[in-house]
Amino acid sequence: MKRFIGFIRKEFYHIFRDKRSLFILFGMPIAQILLFGFAITNEINNVDIAILDHSNDVETQKIINKIKSSPYFKIENQIHNEKDIEAEFKKGKIKAVLIFEPNFSKNLVTKKVATLQTVTDATEPNVASTIANYTTALIQNYQLQKKQYNNQIKVQVQSRMFYNPELKSVFNFVPGVMTIILMLVSAMMTSISITREKELGTMEILLVSPIKPFQVIIGKVFPYIFLSIINAIIILILGFFVFGMPINGSLFLLLFESILFIISALSLGILISTISDSQQTAMMLSLMGLMLPVILLSGFIFPIKSMPIPMQLISNIIPAKWFIIIIKAIMLKGVSIQYIWKETLILIGMTVFFITLSIKKYKIRLE
């Protein structure tokens, strides 16, 4: 036991004296969460648009005012000719043009139908479709108000978004980024710290000593479990206070599942270290072998349901997928363990498998 504690103390010395690894440990989570939260987002704000108003009457003015007062759009200029639309897009400043047909108010009264066309610059498809959705929503809202005045009750389709009514991307990014960071920190840092011993030759001395393989592995892993939990808490605090990410479920359950995921990531890190001889290989393997699948196949960015079947099958062996399902359920839906026990069991199974494999693969000799 004393031997084990001595080993862990040494690991902490390594971590706290290496500025680079300290930065990766604590700087990156904060940077990533802020980056994803603020910069990389599907929401639109202050998009420059232009108006082409062929009728210029009361109703069109009302709609334009409504658009003006929303935080999503900024009316950059009025254009007067269809031909100018492309010229405006080519300048690159505006992203969309709203076109009111001639006699808008009149049509609305006589034909009961008036047309408003949205032309968007789809060089950025996501932004374009979001703009189209937002304008539709604004117009619907306008119609609703108008109908109340007219007392003409018609069937109106109303959709309501549960758990994330405003479709905030933060609700998706916080669990996703947390998963990526825990994976990266846990797997990459352990694999690097074990291969560093190989590279520096200290592994030779550790082998020619009474310390057992599992003691070395646990000793290597323990500090990172501890630091990763701190990381998870930092991310949760940032998500909660900066981005208003709710934590509807039990915090205790959330931490338990996080620890489980951290351990599975750590055991993957050990596995990587058993097959790589240098810190560089370990880093590349962690980045390419773990990070890419986590980002691409975990459902964090691309929905798993819309992937081809083989990809969907592959996504099942990625621990991150299950972890994202679990923490989203806890944080957003506030569920208890009885709704996520299946995913939890899968994660436990994977962790046990990786740990057994890495202890088996740990070399008691140099070759």
């Binding site: 001595g6 080993f7 040494k10 004296r17 290496d18 200290t202 001395i205 020619v208 000593s209 070759e367």
Partner: protein, 298 residues
């Protein structure tokens, strides 16, 4: 016998590292493995410290088999690998404490054993190991290898890259450790250190060429070596190599070592030959045979 090596062979892929090597090291002996880089010294050390498996042959340390009883060997020997293998980001004291706890002991418990070495580095005990000089590093590494009072000490090229004074001090320490009953297997590429061992094995290209005490090895050398020097050293080597009965010519310190093929070698003839070649300040005398000379002839 502390170490027994029987017909050990080891190859990496296609390259043979060690071939059919056998030797024994007695208890309390300083045994030297002498040979150039790439001779197979490190491979032998790794086999004996249970880090590598030999392809053929048996070996045992302190009566423990290197394959079957590898755990017993690992907890009872001290090993200092060729490359400086301590934690550079830990201080001198932290390194020593770590290795003490690793072996389930403490600095205080075995302080007597390392005292003479440790007091030399103690003034720097708060300094990180990476910031120590070469000689200091080796002393610290030796302390760390000794802290658990091992019965056998494996030192793989402990003095490589160390200044001559530190080298001398290092060997004095080894002599003192020997007096405490510790068996030491040491390797070195420096021939001058060979004479400080009780017995040496000359190793080259994975083959053991000779095993004996340094005195016997030089005493049993059957040829006469001459120290030759003239004013024009470069021309001298060239001319000696063209001398009809030459056996071997190589530089050795300030002299050129010359060995002749014939048993009845006439010194005067060589002298005359050199004079004819316009050499001046000619000096020829019989040289004292060293390990290096024996090695050159193998």
């Amino acid at each position: 016998m502390s170490i027994i090596v029987q017909n050990i062979s080891k190859s990496y892929k296609t390259k043979k590292a060690v071939e059919n090597v056998s030797f024994e090291v007695k208890k309390g002996e300083i045994f030297g493995l002498i040979g150039p880089d790439g001779a197979g010294k490190t491979t032998l050390f790794r086999i004996l410290t249970t880090l590598l498996k030999a392809n053929e042959g048996n070996a045992s340390v302190l009566g423990f088999d290197v394959i079957k009883d590898y755990k017993s060997i690992r907890s009872s020997v001290g090993y200092m690998p060729g490359k400086f293998s301590l934690y550079q980001d830990l201080t001198v004291e932290e390194n020593l404490t770590f290795f003490a706890t690793l072996f389930g002991t403490s600095i205080e418990e075995n302080y007597d054993l390392i005292k003479e070495i440790y007091i030399q580095i103690e003034p720097f005990k708060k300094r990180r190991a990476g910031a120590l000089s070469g000689g200091m590093k080796q002393k610290l590494a030796l302390c760390c290898a000794l802290i658990h009072a091992p019965k056998v000490l494996f030192l793989d090229e402990p003095t490589t890259g160390v200044d001559p004074i530190s080298r001398k001090e290092f060997w004095e320490m080894l002599k003192r450790l020997q007096q405490k009953g510790i068996t030491i297997l040491v390797s070195t590429p420096y021939m001058d250190e060979a004479s400080l061992c009780d017995r040496i094995a000359l190793i080259q290209n994975g083959l053991l060429l000779k095993i004996d005490s340094p005195e016997n090895i030089t005493k049993n050398y059957d040829k006469v070596i001459y120290d030759v020097s003239t004013k024009n050293r470069h021309k001298l080597i060239h001319d000696l190599k063209n001398y009809p009965s030459q056996y071997s010519v190589y530089t050795f310190g300030e002299y050129i070592h010359y060995i002749d093929k014939q048993m009845k070698f006439n010194l005067e003839e060589l002298l005359q030959y050199l004079k004819d070649k316009n050499h001046t300040e000619i000096e020829i005398k019989t040289a004292i045979v060293t390990i290096e000379d024996v090695f050159m002839d193998l």
